[in-house]
């Protein structure tokens, strides 16, 4: 072991970096070699001298720094480290928040998507049901009017809590737009009414309603337009508006009064509102066996 190695070994010993076995080995070597023991002793004192110098310097520095309390804290690596850390943390926190927000939004979107999908499926199912009901041929209840009626399947089932379907009792108007009153020759009125009737027959009830309103705007006394409006609204499921139209129709169009009353009754029933009015109207129809819709009303009884 040369002097350099010995110096390193002694320094390691004094700094506590030697294992017990290494210390024992060094001690044995010192015991067997007095010259080495002396060298180790001298080196220990040398290391101690260095420690003394370092401590003395630190102490002097502290006293010097304390004499200058007004000196600002130096912008050393601490400040730099802090700045870096601060901005890194801010960026990380923002990224974390964005991630959480995105995750939440994604969850909401998925939920909403699912809900919409279910609603759409439900709508489709209902639409198919309605179309199916429309396609079922209806039996004439009154011989001279070619009006048919198809009681709803729900009704037949007789279960409680079954949703009432007015379309099942709906009677298509036989001669819609047939008779025009005076001023009927006005080209816009006749044309609009024809277009409305055609749209109605093609199942475009919204268009039919628009044409009916157009006619009524021009000439509010047009009963056929009001009739078209009432049926178009009825077929769209706008039972409240349709009830108003049918109500007016039953007053101003005597020949179609019974038809209007029947559909008004269906509107009342569909709205599940004004039970008194519904019962009164039903009672009135049932009280008159000559009523064109007497048989239909019997089924609602």
């Amino acid at each position: 072991m040369d002097n350099y190695q010995l110096a390193d070994r002694v320094e390691a010993w004094m700094q506590g970096r030697l294992t017990t076995a290494q210390i024992t080995e060094l001690r044995n070597a010192m015991a067997n070699d007095p010259a080495m023991a002396r060298e180790v002793e001298l080196h220990r004192l040398t290391v101690q001298a260095g420690t003394f110098l370092a401590n003395q310097r630190l102490k002097n520095n502290v006293l010097e720094w304390l004499q200058r309390p007004s000196e600002p804290v130096p912008a050393t690596e601490e400040v730099v480290v802090n700045a870096w850390r601060k901005w890194t943390i801010i960026v990380a926190a923002i990224a974390l928040l964005l991630f959480l927000w995105a995750a939440l939004e994604y969850g909401n979107i998925r939920q909403e998507q699912q809900k919409n999908w279910q609603l759409e499926q439900e709508n489709r199912r209902l639409q198919e049901l309605l179309e199916q009901e429309d396609r079922v041929p209806t039996a004439p209840s009154v011989p001279d009017d070619s009006i048919s009626i198809k009681p709803s399947t729900e009704k037949k089932s007789g279960g409680t809590g079954v949703v009432f379907s007015p379309m099942a009792y709906y009677v298509p108007p036989a001669d819609l737009g047939g008779v025009l009153r005076r001023n009927d020759t006005a080209p816009t009125v006749a044309q609009s009414l024809d277009l409305g009737v055609a749209a109605f027959k093609n199942g475009k009830f919204k268009t039919a309603e628009r044409y009916a309103r157009q006619v009524l705007t021009t000439d509010a006394s047009q009963r056929e337009a009001l009739r078209l409006l009432a049926f178009a609204q009825f077929r769209q499921g706008k039972f409240l508006e349709a009830s108003h139209a049918f109500s007016g129709l039953s007053t101003i169009y005597p020949s179609k009064k019974e038809e209007a009353e029947w559909h008004l009754l269906l509107c009342y029933r569909a709205l599940n509102d004004g039970k008194t009015a519904y019962k009164a109207l039903l009672k009135r129809i049932l009280a008159n066996p000559d009523h064109a819709f007497y048989a239909n009303a019997q089924q609602l009884k």
Binding site: V47, F52, P74, N82, E105, I109, Q113
Partner: protein, 244 residues
């Protein structure tokens, strides 16, 4: 409070997007937690923790010097005033006590158990307690343990203070002994023991490279050893005063 972009799906797949502003929306628990988290993270980033300060000191060299300078400039006045208030000493004695405490704490930090006192107190508290102890020891040099150490860590720190105060004679002899080796060798020994790396020593002393610095270090050590060998009374005195 915040604007939220919500996607409005009328059908599947999505067809439209719209932005809804909800200024009256009550912040949710999640929002509050996020704000608190953010504030905590940022406020914690304002200063180095004790652990990081200790790490910097343990690195030695310029890092250690810089860290102690920051600590002294930041906490020095507070510690000295606390010492003066507690012990009734004057400012110079308080500063002396604080400087001794710094040396003791530095030694403790650089030992293998450097972190242990952080479990019971902050570095600042530890420094203040050590300063008070040092001043009491200076005021009543004959008696030891005037302030009872409440933890083992404090006990260890007070031991360092005791050691420093009891080694006055050792330091005097050491100072005399070191006078014989010249300023350059003293500085090399100092830098080496201050934890400067060979690279830093080379830069500080103007050596070509680290190998030269290492050789110069050995040369300085050898010089001191030969000086001691030539003056055996120093060895005797150092042994008596430094090793008890």
């Amino acid at each position: 409070m915040i604007s939220l972009i919500r996607r409005n799906f009328s059908t599947n797949p999505p067809q439209s997007y719209k932005i809804q502003f909800s200024p009256k929306k009550i912040p949710s628990t999640g929002d509050l937690c996020a704000v608190i988290l953010l504030y905590t993270m940022i406020s914690n980033g304002e200063a180095l923790s004790d652990q990081e300060r200790i790490d910097a000191i343990r690195q030695g060299g310029t890092s250690r010097d810089g860290q102690w300078r920051i600590i002294v400039l930041t906490w020095g006045q507070y510690c000295c005033q606390t010492v003066m208030r507690t012990t009734g000493c004057d400012q110079s004695l308080a500063q002396e006590g604080f400087s001794i405490a710094v040396v003791g704490v530095d030694k403790r930090i650089r030992s293998s158990e450097g972190y242990d006192f952080l479990t019971s107190a902050t570095l600042k508290t530890y420094l203040t307690a050590s300063s008070i102890y040092a001043v009491n020891r200076l005021l009543h040099a004959a008696s030891r343990h005037i302030v009872d150490a409440s933890t083992l860590a404090e006990e260890a720190a007070f031991e360092q203070v005791d050691q420093w105060i009891s080694q006055d004679a050792c330091r005097l002899v050491m100072e005399k002994a070191l006078e014989g080796i010249g300023e350059k060798s003293k500085k090399i020994l100092l830098l080496f023991n201050d934890g400067f790396s060979m690279k830093e020593i080379a830069a500080e002393m103007g050596f070509d490279n680290e190998t030269t610095a290492r050789k110069e270090k050995y040369k300085a050590q050898e010089k001191f050893k030969r000086h001691l060998a030539d003056n055996p009374h120093f060895i005797t005195l150092l042994k008596e005063n430094c090793y008890g």
